[in-house]
Symmetry: C2
Subunit: 200 residues, 2 copies
DNA sequence: GCCCAAGTGGACACTACTGTCCGTTTCGGT
DNA sequence: ACCGAAACGGACAGTAGTGTCCACTTGGGC
């Protein structure tokens, strides 16, 4: 069903270029103005008309999906390259922080969008990317034994939360790195017996 | 300057009631529809006209500030009650999770809003609430020695991030508690030497 | 019980964004 | 170089939210 070679009607070169420019522009605009940024602003920033944008991406979710797909591909490449090593999981986590995080931060934000069919299609791919590395990291004792995939999604959401500019002048990268550090090692000292006494 | 007793022009009873109803409604609407929820929806949910809402709160930030002020007062009471105990800091953190978190979650979200004069006025109050307990917790070794106030604000933002409904059916409370647990104890096992090798 | 100031909420004009339509331009095969 | 198809982008009408105005209602001092 996916192997029909005669399915390509041959895209025009300029159309392909425009598509790429739009995705790049969307990256920047989403990063600076948030995911709710006016569609129009993205078109203007990309130097195309709004109609062109709509022709390529029916709605903002499709556009978000395109961005995420790029990043997902990059992360999958990292995972492939690192193979079965038990620290692949941590590498993926830090990889998201390392290579500037606006777009990756969309992953958790968008995955929990209810009415976004284009995005739900990506969920299994994210699952596939993370499941095996997480399992191996757990087996090797690099992460706590009770850490689930759901936890990881939430962790990504938490990391995304510190992306918003707080006017403190600290770079996004610096804040992300610090947040990851806090998350990985926890708020309490390693040796301390402090615990969360949420109910007696 | 604040001690003029003749400054009260005597509010009317029904006006006071409406104001309270609006704040309560805003709590629910913000929680379920997010901080960007239409002002109109809040008015309708409170059973008042939009003009009444605007008369009480010139913009959504003033309304947000009113909500936060309530919660802040509650947390200040907790802090006062716990006095100098070194675990007051953790109690404040868990307190936010315990007593349903929609509104408290606004704290970090709103504190980093750039154009929100009504909110910036609350910053020193938040600072005052947290500084001493944090210091005492650090001194007692209950939290890591390098934990700063800025970190704590980011932690609050991170906790807020898991409030968004993810459709998983897990309760907000449950997710918050889990997120706090992860944050407090970290992703790596207590004994493990795993570290974030973000740059070699 | 009366009256006026305080308070109310529906109506209105305004703005920002959305999504589509259509006349014009550009690509690429011949 | 020519031509048809593909792609473009400005223009347009529709919609949702905002903030204000004003004729009407209500509380509370007298």
């Amino acid at each position: 069903m996916t192997s029909l070679p005669e399915k390509k009607p041959a895209r025009r070169r300029d159309a392909e270029e425009n598509r790429a420019r739009i995705v790049a522009a969307a990256r920047e605009v989403y990063a600076s103005a948030g995911f709710d940024a006016p569609f129009d602003a993205i078109a203007r920033h990309a130097g195309v008309g709004r109609a062109t944008l709509y022709r390529n991406f029916p709605d903002r979710f499709a556009l978000g999906a395109a961005i995420i797909e790029d990043d997902l591909a990059a992360l999958e490449a990292i995972a492939r390259k690192h193979g079965d090593r038990p620290d692949t999981f941590m590498t993926l986590l830090t990889g998201m922080v390392e290579r500037h995080t606006e777009a990756h931060a969309l992953v958790p934000v968008l995955l929990r969008e209810p009415g976004a069919p284009a995005l739900q299609a990506l969920v299994p791919r994210v699952t596939r990317l993370l499941t095996a590395p997480l399992e191996r990291a757990r087996a090797a004792g690099l992460v706590r034994a009770d850490l689930t995939l759901t936890d990881v999604i939430d962790v990504l959401a938490m990391l995304a939360a510190v992306l918003a500019d707080d006017g403190s002048g600290r770079s996004r990268h610096g804040r992300m790195a610090r947040a990851l550090e806090l998350l990985v090692h926890g708020l309490v000292p390693r040796a301390a017996g402090a615990r969360v006494t949420s109910r007696r």
